[in-house]
Symmetry: C2
Subunit: 428 residues, 2 copies
């Protein structure tokens, strides 16, 4: 597997991009063979600049739901682009898309569209504070809601004051949530939660129904808004808001990533109760009203409604999970597979239950060398273009990886990545 062109590109990138790459798609903490740049994407496959093909388990960190370069979705996009996209006003697509979400999502009576997931969570935050003029917002400790000053996980360059009125509690701990709400006193604006735990490194997974209902009840009791951040998990667990399984509807839900299968759009959906507050906040962006991503989102929603994408991604995720379980057992390397099967976080553990960073890292290195893009610490996303044959090929590579695994002490990790990952583990 050649890498010369990829390495040369990274050399060029280091001159004109700080650190060579930035943000969540930087491969600085991944294994050394992980390609940073890709030349082609189709279905569930990526190609790097040296002509290597990868089965991509990351799905663009979420946006790819129905397959890269999806013909039908891109046709809807292109046909809209030919008529009108970014202009002095929106097209009727903004109304149709809002109507479509209002039809699809029980709590939604209105929609606002934006670009980044962080735009959506920031708008929700501001709407909750505008609702009754209260300031305190309860968040779960270490939960990712985006990279704005108020929520970025790495706070270099922020002042701290933008977090003045957050109260943090332990996710999926109703008692801790109640305590946080008590601390807010009569200044509670809302509670913002992700529908599942899906942070890096730590075990992912669903909260209890009790916890979800507790959040709902606390917001009702205090005339505050319940905000559910569906940016990562939305439409990957349900065709509705994720907590419909608990019978819990939020006041605001925030969406992004897969809404238009990779075309840039995010959204805030809201209940009647929150409409007045949403109409009072001033939020905007140069490209928020562009029509082409909305046309792509309408087509994506139609596919969400009319295909078995959800059942298929769950089945494929279970096939992967069961296969990896059995492979790791026969290799005698304890594996940790958490989160929903279709959003798997896969890491290896030491005998003492702690994350085994070197083994996980070496596993991903072998996988990527054999054409499988596997992530060492971030949850992955099964997309609907993947097939059982893809999963079987992933399992074959995984089997080979675990059979040829170097001894733990012989695994070399670049020191920066090791330090960063171990500090994650220590904090979690």
């Amino acid at each position: 597997m050649g890498q010369a062109k990829g390495k040369a590109l990274f050399g060029r990138a280091q001159k004109v991009i700080p650190g060579g790459m930035y943000g969540h798609q930087s491969t600085a903490l991944q294994s050394p063979s992980t390609p940073q740049f890709f030349s082609k994407a189709e279905g569930t496959y990526l190609w790097d600049y040296d002509g290597n093909r990868y089965i991509d388990l990351m799905s663009g960190y979420g946006p790819n739901l129905f397959g890269y370069a999806h013909a039908e979705i891109n046709a809807a996009f292109a046909s809209q682009l030919a008529e009108i996209d970014t202009a002095t006003g929106p097209s009727a697509r903004i109304i149709e898309l809002a109507e479509a979400y209002v039809d699809q999502i029980a709590h939604a009576e209105w929609a606002l569209f934006c670009k980044n997931g962080t735009d959506a969570t920031s708008i929700a935050l501001r709407t909750a504070r505008a609702y009754r003029g209260k300031r305190k917002v309860v968040l779960a400790k270490d939960t990712y809601h985006g990279a704005a000053d108020w929520c970025t996980p790495f706070q270099t360059g922020t002042i701290g004051e933008e977090r003045s009125h957050f109260i943090y509690h332990e996710y999926n701990n109703a008692e801790s949530l109640e305590q946080a709400v008590r601390e807010a006193g009569d200044d509670l604006a809302g509670i913002m939660l992700t529908p599942i735990r899906h942070e890096v490194i730590v075990d992912n997974g669903e909260p209890t129904a009790e916890y979800a209902k507790c959040a709902r009840r606390l917001c009702d009791d205090h005339d505050a808004l319940l905000m559910i951040d569906e940016v990562r998990a939305g439409f990957r667990l349900e065709r509705e808001c994720s907590w419909c399984r608990f019978g819990v509807d939020p006041d605001l839900s925030m969406w992004g990533k897969l809404l238009a299968n990779g075309h840039p759009i995010s959204a805030v959906l809201g209940s009647e109760k929150a409409r007045g507050a949403a109409s009072k906040v001033y939020v905007t962006g140069s490209f928020w009203f562009s029509a082409a991503p909305m046309a792509a989102a309408l087509k994506t929603l139609e596919l969400i409604q009319t295909t078995d994408y959800l059942e298929r991604t769950i089945d494929l995720g279970l096939r992967l999970r069961e296969g990896l379980d059995s492979i790791s057992k026969s290799a005698g390397l304890p594996i940790s597979q958490t989160g929903p099967a279709q959003m798997p976080l896969v890491m290896f553990n030491q005998e003492n239950g702690q994350r085994d960073i070197p083994i996980t890292y070496a596993f991903c290195e072998i996988a990527v060398e054999h054409g499988v893009y596997f992530h060492p610490f971030h949850n992955m996303f099964i997309n609907a273009a993947m097939t059982a044959a893809d999963i079987d090929q992933i399992l074959e590579v995984a089997d080979r990886a675990l059979r040829s695994m170097p001894a733990r002490d012989a695994i070399e990790i670049n020191p920066a990545a090791r330090a960063a990952l171990e500090s994650f583990v220590a904090e979690s």
Copy 2:
């Protein structure tokens, strides 16, 4: 001119979008015939849903530089979209685009790409604070840098604390700037300024060279970063940073809107001095690394380098300005035309020099009824698809408008718009 379909759309929108529309493209403060939704955009023309065509002087509030649905730019976009767009990593377009800006812009040694203009200004803010760990940032009073909590002009739903470390001064007043820097003491992170004054309602225009040089000197003296917010004016005044005319280079420049002629991308460009700080901040977004808008940006930059778009938009702007001047003189209605000719702010004044909101409003209403989208309080943008014939048609409509202008006291303005606009005038 029919409007039935547009009104029906707005009725539908009011049910599913807070207030019927939100953000800078809401027409709530414009005259009643202003269309909210458009079905088609081409060159410098927009069509509403009733089949009316408009010469669009807003250019999408900035993004449209070379004409809507530009064939060459959209071809570059489409051809990239077919290969790879949003994926698990960026394509080589991110490197090529960063290299192209580094080649084009004197101070730029690196680039970061994002989506919203507000992303770019927020990244610059964080980079300046990361640079030496200082917190105070000097801004100009009432300057627009975006709609995030720290900068939104309408603060409903924000907590205030996110503005803890800003010091405000009077734009284009070197003494006031020096005083603000003194107030920052030894905690100055940087100074963030727009290259020209381009706020709504108030006279727009360039600062003095003395002011620009003072900002540069103060940043040098205090080892702080000079940030120039080019989101609105970038590439509309110069093919370089706007302050090249004063011989002043910033440490960080922030760009957006027209970079890809309407495709969503914004950027922070930075000097060597700021590279280390930029590599320490954690900023990211789901669609920031998408390749297709970068391909469109490369083509747009090529057109910026190889066409006379700049000279033409200036010439067309001057033709408009001179024509409006002479028409208003013969009508005896004092007109205020400020800002660069290619980014004109056009308002009518009363005899006492104050803004004449009713006359401006009535003028825009007649213009829009005759197929000219004229803005009553926001600067407009001449695009390079406009022709002298378009300008002459605008002038013909303007002449007709001023000849048929109702008496000032007979002009009806919806009370909400009048109150909002008058409060702007009072504040400015």
